[in-house]
Amino acid sequence: MKSHLRIGFIALGLTFLGLVSTRAQEIVIGQYASLTGSEATFGINSSNGVALALEETNSHGGVLGGRKIKIITEDDQSKPGQPSAAVKKLVSSDKVIAVIGEIASSRSLEAAPICQEAKIPMVSPGATNARVTEVGDYIFRVCFIDPFQGTVMAKFALDNLKAKKVAILTDVRNDYSVGLTQYFKEYFQSHGGQIVMERSFSGGGTDRDFRAQLTAIKSAQPDAIFVPGYYTEAGLIAKQARSLGIKVPLLGGDGWDSPKLSEIGGSAIEGSYFSTHFSPKDSNPKVQDFVKKYQAKFGTMPDGMAPLGYDAMMVLAQAINTAGSTDGAKIRDALAGVKNFDGVTGRITIDPKRNATKAAVVLKVNSKGNDFVASVAP
């Protein structure tokens, strides 16, 4: 009887130890994204990309010699104030070792200080405003930044469209839009272009009527209109511009990159141009392989945000392996040393400012799948 009891206790103890050790084996990474709200497609598609990368990494044995990664995702609802709540929870309560997020620059700027202070590395898949990584040395991104992106569209307007006079419609509620406007203007004006008019609006779902601003812009007779905002407003602005009789093309940045752009903008936005990180029609085998895998798993074509999420997760996984531990400082150093990482969105090298130097692509809006127009190297 006594020996049975003893065996029973030992068995229980081993089971308990086994449970505890499998728990300890898992590596927990946090993610915050806009899964709902006005920029829902950004969050959904980038987290899909992350999920695809996670599945692949775990099925190849995980990281650090066989440990699987678990991702806890929090929705920030595309609203200011939510990212800080989400990231605080991930960092303090879920005790994640790293954070992936976000696509929108304003929301990334909100969460970054929290990660920096907690010394938890943060990898943004797609925030392009320069200030995001300036928050501190624990904040990284795998995409290009707006000082570069602004010049891309300005160059495209001058060289490809031969547009000498451009009007700008900025979303003042949005750090990304304000930043991009500034960089576009700098390049455009210093290379012989003329900004004939600047108008603004409040994005994020508040303003729906842009006719007043567009009427004013129409009277200035620009050759093109630069609309560096997000896809919801871009679609509406295109519709209203066309109904007011404005025929010139619209130009935008990667904030337009969403399957909903053509849904909302319809025929009004067809034929306009925007810069982004990746074209699903790129014949590069790595891109096509990603597109196939994404379609198989999610049933839709990936937009520009999905491969960014994928690359962010892959870069982070590699950094964890290079660091050889889950220590924040070691992962941080490993991230800083990423060189020539072969990502779906291009070769990623993290520079001293913790940004990635990559090429941008210019796409022409087409409801059947955006057309690739040009690739611009930094």
Partner: protein, 302 residues
Amino acid sequence: MMQFWQQLINGLSLGAFYALIALGYTMVYGVLRFINFAHGDVFMLGAFCGYYLTPRLLPHFTGPLAPVGVTVVLVATMAICAIIGILIERLAYRPLRRMPKLTVLITAIGVSLFLEYAGQFVFGADPKAFPELMPDRALENTGALTVTTTQVAAFAVTLLLLVGLTFVVKRTRLGMAMRALSNNSTAAALMGVNIDTVISFTFGLGSALAGAAGILYAISYPSIDPLMGVLPGIKAFVAAVLGGIGNIPGAAVGGLILGGVETIVAGSAYSTYRDAIAFAILIIILLFRPAGLFGKVQVEKV
């Protein structure tokens, strides 16, 4: 100069929406001395009604029958919103009729928040593309100015509903009962007016107008989400106050003026002040002429 006329046209069509919503605010205030803050959200529900009804109803009216189809969707939405308005009154406001006005006001805010967040839960918080009920094109032969089909439709329907409302209020028995209730509710009750019925009718009518406004707004700005009624609702309230709260033609004029001013500000170099100007107007009106442009200055006889 041309730009001024164009902005005026833009402003009038924007003002038509504010006018339609303001009519509901002003009617409920006139009859009940109570500001129904949930009104802006009935406007939102109207837009969502249209979103769900259009794919089901419109395909039955093809070709030349298309305008009939649009009218059917509009009328159906107005009916549904009327029922919603009556339900809200029955469930949330009627039990509080004997309470101080502040209580009902807070309840109204609660109903508004409830509709918004329940809407986010039921419909999803992301913006949805409103189906095309009518083609949005610039009309020909308007010279240097651009007038779109949706602008004309919004303005025309608003005018029609305004005329209809004035007819109901001035020429029907229910309308007379509404006016009696607004004048003196105790005396009206003593004269045999069924207070409950008249109040329900008032809410129904106001909500139907808000529903119509929702459809017209969604036709012009085809991206809808559960929080879309917040800002237009508040601005329509300002319009009602501007015109004189309780005064029907005042609400319509207030709406048009507000739409015009907002558009001119939005088209200027100070376009981000477009929302601020509405509230600046509210403060100024309350400071200098609280009764509004058409309101009667209430003299209290001591």
